[in-house]
């Protein structure tokens, strides 16, 4: 038994950490955050060049043929560094096309995704918090044209293609620049992953032939990747708060010497640290323990995103007045926590799903 990352996976994380520390430090993230830019083309290009973007795609289309756990390793570090951009959604769209697409579709779309030249996103939500495949109602007409809307589409501004959830749990590909598609940005609270809506008025949609058979599995992968982001973010909040408590002085002492602060920080660690192993298991199960994968994904998403929000909230508190300013970076993670928790449905929805999946 070895419940741990492999040496390769650790190396991958270290490489990414080094890259992000130099190319996407928090000061740079803050610049983009203030300008409301949802992605950093240089960082995306750099990540693609290092092979992170196509990790999970099949070898023949230019990917590395690795597993969800490898993607989780990346998502966890991106969460830690609060890296802006479409990594998770782009990866999920790639999984959808790889699992549900025809040979022709895979050959047409995946090589560009693997090289990072083409950015994909996913459009799942419909009005009324309808995130899950069985709740999707958007349907193509007899001529294969879409009329209707998708909400809370991440990275709506930069995506070259979008995998759209359709009635019956089907999946289709839409190019947002095509006629009949209107993209509109919303005032997303998480400026590192800006959301918006897609309105369709006779837009062309290319169905993925096996979409309906794989959409639950695609959704599960997305749940695990969001949980990975949340786990990395929570762990960063602990680190930032501990560092602050070790340097901020009041009453002539470091505030980290006060037991009240120590206990608050210990509680943060208690909430954040056990999350990582749950996410790893959910990712491992997605590839290797198929019968438990849906429940593990639901547990990971609900538990870890809930804890991330709690930890981020308490981290703001540990920072005192400074924590409440736009200047202090902690709110970047607080807002990512809100995003991770709400995107794809709140914890409650996934807990109820987990109870169904457990056969209770």
């Amino acid at each position: 038994m070895n419940f741990d990352l492999s040496e390769d996976q650790r190396l991958l994380q270290r490489t990414l950490d080094d890259f992000l520390a130099s190319e996407s430090p928090i000061a740079r993230v803050r610049e983009l955050f203030d300008r409301g830019e949802e992605t950093d083309p240089a960082v995306w290009k750099g990540m693609a060049g290092l092979g992170f973007v196509g990790l999970h795609l099949p070898g023949p289309v230019g990917g590395a043929g690795l597993e969800l756990l490898d993607l989780v390793c990346v998502a966890e570090r991106l969460g830690y560094h609060a890296t802006p951009g479409p990594f998770v959604f782009n990866a999920v769209a790639g999984i959808a096309i790889a699992l549900g697409g025809s040979d022709a579709q895979r050959e047409r779309w995946l090589p560009g995704l693997a090289r990072g030249e083409c950015i994909a996103s996913v459009a799942f939500a419909e009005e009324g918090d309808r995130w899950q495949p069985e709740q999707w109602r958007l349907a193509p007409d007899a001529n294969g044209r879409l009329r209707g809307r998708k909400e809370s589409v991440p990275c709506v501004g930069c995506a070259d293609l979008v995998v759209v959830g359709l009635s019956g749990g089907a999946l289709g590909i839409v190019e947002p620049d095509a006629p009949g598609v209107t993209r509109a940005g919303a005032h997303g609270i998480d400026r590192t992953r800006r959301i918006g809506s897609l309105a369709f008025d006779g837009a062309a949609c290319e169905l993925l032939p096996d979409g309906a058979a794989v959409s639950d599995r695609v959704r599960d992968a997305a749940l695990v990747l969001l949980a990975a982001d949340a786990s990395g973010g929570a762990s960063r909040c602990v680190d930032i708060s501990v560092a602050y408590a070790g340097q901020r002085e009041q009453f002539g002492r470091k505030i980290g010497e006060f037991q009240a602060v120590k206990h608050q920080l210990a509680n943060l660690a208690l909430a954040a640290e056990p999350c990582r192993a749950l996410v790893w298991y959910a990712a491992h199960a997605w590839d290797h323990v198929r019968e438990e994968a849906p429940r593990a994904a639901a547990h990971a998403k609900s538990h870890v995103t809930d804890r991330f929000l709690q930890v981020a909230r308490d981290s703001v508190e540990v920072h005192g007045g400074v924590g409440y300013t736009w200047e202090c970076p902690v709110h970047v993670w607080l807002k990512r926590a809100v995003f991770d928790r709400a995107f794809l449905g709140p914890p409650r929805a996934h807990r109820l799903r987990a109870a169904d999946l457990a056969g209770w």
Binding site: M1, F3, V242, K262, A266, A269, A277, L352, A354
Partner: protein, 400 residues
Amino acid sequence: MDLAYGPEYETFRGTVREFLALHWPGSGGGSERSQRERVAEFRARATRAGYLYRGVPRRYGGSEQEPDALRAAVIREEFGRARAPMEVPGNGVSMLVPTLLDRGEEWQRERFIPKTLTGEYQWAQGYSEPGAGSDLASLRTRGELVGDEWVLNGQKIWTSAARSCQYMFTLVRTEPDAAKHAGISYLLVPLDQPGIEIRPLKMITGESHFNEVFLNDARTPADWIVGGRGEGWNVSRTTLKHERATIGSGSQAIFESLLRLVRSVTRDGRPALEDPAVREKVAALEAWVWAQKYSSDYVTSCGLKGADPGILQLLNKLLATEIGHEIARTALDLIGDASLLEPFETREGRGAPTLRRGHERWMNQFMGSLGNAIAGGTSNIQRNIIAERGLGLPRDESGK
């Protein structure tokens, strides 16, 4: 990532199963006495087979196996599944034996370990005092060497099961002029003597599990000291480490009890499991238990490789305490009016209180989960340890 134990361990699992099928066909009926004998015989056999007391040399009655966390896990799983007796429970096996193996004299090991392993010797832990709880090193019970005996005066408290124990391992101040921690020695003391008085303390559950132990010129031989004079604090660190490892075990079993409870109760005349609020709560608890389980698998895997698992190990006890308390709180909501009842019943002339059979038994779990937040290092002390040793925050030197 590889969750399988591998073929070697699965073969071993088969061997353990065969052994259990042959030698533990269930606890069976019979008188209490014959039952005790059956258990003792089974433990002896399981030790000879290498399944129990794996870290204890054969010459002291152990099975002297190579350390192997996975074999130990397979044994725990299979014995648990067959509901077969594991090692003798109590402080003797879990705390004293490792301490003697680590720091004891040869004659002490020979004299005390074998009979502790069979359960013939049971041990009380004489650490806390009325004035020395979390600040244990401030303890004041005195030990003076008079001739070839230690003469002990003072009081110990929270001493679990002391009335059924023959001996106590205890921390006493033998070097009153030395600094706080350096004045303490670790002594072994026979409890059946005129200088020892044990008074039961009634706990919030109504049971009397722990006690006060008064030492009034109690005596123990001069060489019943483990480690040297003034080394008791360090000697006891070995022991506490073992206790924390035991207390911080997984919460799977208590979660499964909760699931059985959920399946058996109703809300507003309908099965509780049909209530979305209940389903949501139980799922949230399961996710937490899974996070604990896989974190523990990670710690085990690090142990197998000799890698440092970091802060997770320090979180173990607090995590188990918090999960246990939340499970008990959930049960409290589910059992409704049964929560108004005492969990134990005392019959005239029948001695110790017995756990009732109805849902009110969960009130014992509810109160017990509070006990876990206190025993073996309170949750607040755990938070200090996590913050100082795990997160590297400045140490509080005020008590040193």
